[in-house]
């Protein structure tokens, strides 16, 4: 089992969700997050004075999938979330040791 975490631009959420649903993903967790990368935020103007926005708003998607689907899911996210400009985000794929469905107590791939 794999956990795919993607940090994307907020306005790309809908497209990514569609793409993931098409790829057969049945559930996901989404959170609003803030952060920066190599660009280190950017500056804005307010009443004539500049100020820097260090942490930009992003959306983090978490998807839990079976090992064999990982590649397909990563591809779907990459395609859907890409604009080609700085700040498109990152995808992390990590192995998952155990999954438990709380309602039934099922474990492993059955619980996905």
């Amino acid at each position: 089992m794999k956990m795919v975490e993607a940090i994307i631009k907020p306005f790309k959420l809908d497209e990514v969700k569609e793409a993931l649903t098409k790829a057969g993903v049945e559930g996901m967790t989404v959170s609003e997050v803030k952060g920066f990368g190599r660009q280190k935020g950017h500056t804005e103007l307010y009443r004539g004075a500049e100020y820097s926005v260090d942490f930009l708003p992003k959306v983090k998607i978490q998807v839990l999938i079976a090992d064999e689907k990982a590649r397909q899911v990563v591809e779907a996210i990459t395609t859907a979330a890409r604009t080609g400009k700085i700040g498109d985000g990152k995808i992390f794929v990590t192995p998952v040791e155990e999954v438990i469905r709380i309602r039934t107590g099922e474990k492993g791939p059955d619980a996905i």
Binding site: L45, R47, E50
Partner: protein, 586 residues
């Protein structure tokens, strides 16, 4: 209740109409001898029968019957109504009505129109409190939103109580004895004659050597503390209400410039104090005091002319705000280690725009309401002038930002619109529409330059109140002395100069572009007085009150946001990463 009232109204109306139809021949008969008299005689001469007509005591406090004084008049039954058959100014008994009663109805109706106009205008001005709250709160950070809006809430009752206790008496207690044009009568009725005692230099005496209550240099009034029984009059209540909501505009201006760091308790003291400087200066300009008398005493134009209060309301508020911001010092983090100003973005720009619209709407009560008369048809000019100045104010603020290579910052354009409104407040009745547009345009440029000016000098004003109200209030006062065209305000402040009447037909308020340089000089004096007086009073007060209870919150409170520690209520509890309110639960 409502039904009965409507029925009553309907009945009285139909009775009046029926009476008019019935009495038509009688009226014509009564009016006949008068028709033979030359037309163009003074309207007072219209009373038909000898002996000489006994007009109501419009101009004195004496009643025809010394045992039954007509004022104070707590029901309005005597205002413009003498010898009413029904006695309550509501219904008429047709058989008993005479021509005199008709005049009576006319006078009463004039007062009624004026009362309703001034009261409704006052309601609009009161609603401006909501506008101020939204502008100021929107320009503050989320962590101070509860505190900033609470200041705007509480200044309304606190300031109002101060005005009730002592402010009104100081400002308008000697209103009756101020300089007025010849033949003037009060648009709100003779009840205002109760406001007739004060203090000043050089007491005036009448032919019999008795003090008239007027002074060469009026300083403050002394009637109407707590609105006591001596002023229990319908006209006084209208004036009180209208002037009260004006003062609250002044009172709420500094809460913006001093936001995000002003301690609540010190603010409360201020709320009760602010009526003092406001009402003293208001007395000098509006209450018949020495600045209004500048025309009579020194021959400078019509004395200080400030129609709806660019100086009295806005410059005063802006100057108090300046003193307050200086005493408080800038917010933590406003300036970097080299002293360069940093942006501290407000948390809700749409709220600022909403507030700006509410203020612009309220200004349609503020300016035309200041005629104190719905029968003064100049109100249409005033409304148009007010609107034009708000247009050019906003647009020229945008041009100025562009000229400086900046984007059209939404909050600065809001400031621009308000600056135009502030500037047109004093000249609104006296200028042509084109001049109103020019005045607003200058205000729009001024406000942007002024915001950067103060910011670069270490004066931290989160909302731009000093620039909008202080700087442009002064510009408004001066602009009267430049653009006033002489069409309106004949005999203003008791000044009628023969030379002007000969030259122009009447002596209206006239700026330097229209031939009266002395008016400009007087406006400049007025401007200097409000800056010096307002600043000294406010600076001393903030320093003194700081000894009673500290004016500034602690560094910890300021960094955390004033909402939790000062108010106990967070403006946005759901969005706090570290809910500071939790501390209060312990």
């Amino acid at each position: 209740m409502g039904k009965a009232k409507r029925l009553w109204l309907f009945l009285s109306l139909s009775m009046v109409i029926a009476w008019m139809l019935m009495m038509r021949p009688v009226l014509a008969e009564e009016a006949a001898p008068q028709a033979a008299e030359p037309q163009g005689a003074a309207p007072q001469a219209a009373a038909p029968q000898a002996p000489a007509p006994k007009l109501p005591a419009y101009f004195t406090t004496t009643s025809p019957d010394p045992n039954k004084p007509m004022w104070p008049d707590p029901t309005g039954g005597n205002s413009g109504t003498w010898a009413t058959p029904a006695g309550d100014a509501k219904g008429d008994i047709p058989d008993q009505l005479k021509l005199g009663d008709l005049y009576d109805r006319i006078a009463h109706n004039l007062y009624s129109i004026n009362y309703v106009w001034v009261l409704v205008a006052g309601f609009l001005v009161m609603f401006m409190q909501a506008g101020f709250m939204m502008v100021e709160t929107g320009l503050c950070r989320a962590k101070n939103s509860s505190h900033t809006s609470a200041m705007n809430l509480l200044i309304y009752p606190l300031g109002g109580l101060g005005f009730w206790v002592y402010g009104f008496a100081i400002g308008w207690g000697n209103w009756w004895n101020g300089p007025v044009p010849p033949g003037w009568y009060p648009s709100l009725g003779p009840g205002l004659s109760l406001l007739n005692s004060g203090f000043g230099l050089g007491a005036a005496v009448d032919a019999a050597g008795k003090a008239t209550g007027a002074f060469t240099y009026g300083l403050f009034g002394t009637t109407g503390w707590f609105l006591n029984g001596a002023v229990n009059d319908v006209a006084v209540m209208v004036l009180f209400f209208f002037m009260m909501v004006f003062m609250d505009t002044t009172a709420t201006i500094p809460t913006g410039a001093m936001a995000e760091r002003w301690s609540w308790k010190n603010f409360c003291l201020y709320g009760f104090w602010v009526a003092l400087p406001y009402c003293l200066y208001a007395n000098w300009v509006w209450g018949g005091g020495w600045l209004a008398q500048g025309g009579v005493n020194w021959g400078l134009g019509h004395g200080a002319v400030d129609f709806a209060g660019s100086g009295v309301v806005h410059a005063m508020g802006g100057i108090i705000a300046l003193a307050g911001a200086m005493v408080l010092g800038p917010r933590i983090g406003k300036y970097d280690e080299y002293g360069r100003p940093r942006a501290m973005p407000g948390h809700n720009v749409a709220m600022v725009v909403t507030g700006t619209f509410i203020l612009a709407f309220g200004w349609f009560g503020f300016n035309p309401g200041s005629t104190l008369a719905g029968t003064d048809l100049r109100i249409s000019f005033i409304v148009v002038n007010t609107m034009l100045a708000s247009f050019t104010g906003a647009v020229f603020a945008m041009f100025t930002l562009w000229a400086k290579g900046l984007k059209p910052d939404t909050t600065m354009m809001c400031n621009g619109m308000l600056a135009g409104l502030v500037a047109i407040t004093a000249p609104c009745a006296f200028v042509d529409p084109w001049a109103a547009a020019v005045i607003g345009a200058v205000a729009g440029v001024l406000v942007v330059l002024s915001v950067f000016f103060w910011e670069a000098r270490g004066i931290d004003d989160p909302v731009g109140a000093i620039s909008v109200h202080g700087v442009n209030g002064l510009w408004g006062v001066l602009s009267v002395g430049i653009f006033a065209n002489g069409a309106y305000g004949a005999g203003w402040n008791g000044v009628v100069r023969e030379g002007m009447v000969k030259l122009y037909g009447s002596d209206g308020v006239r700026g330097l572009l229209y031939g009266d340089f002395s008016q400009f000089v007087m406006q400049a004096i007025d401007g200097v007085v409000v800056v010096v007086f307002g600043f000294v009073m406010a600076y001393v007060w903030f320093k003194l009150s700081n000894l009673i209870t500290p004016i500034r919150v602690s560094k910890e409170v300021e960094l955390e946001g004033l909402d939790g520690p000062e108010m106990g209520v967070l403006g946005y509890p759901d969005f706090q990463l570290h809910p500071s309110g939790q501390k209060l639960v312990e």
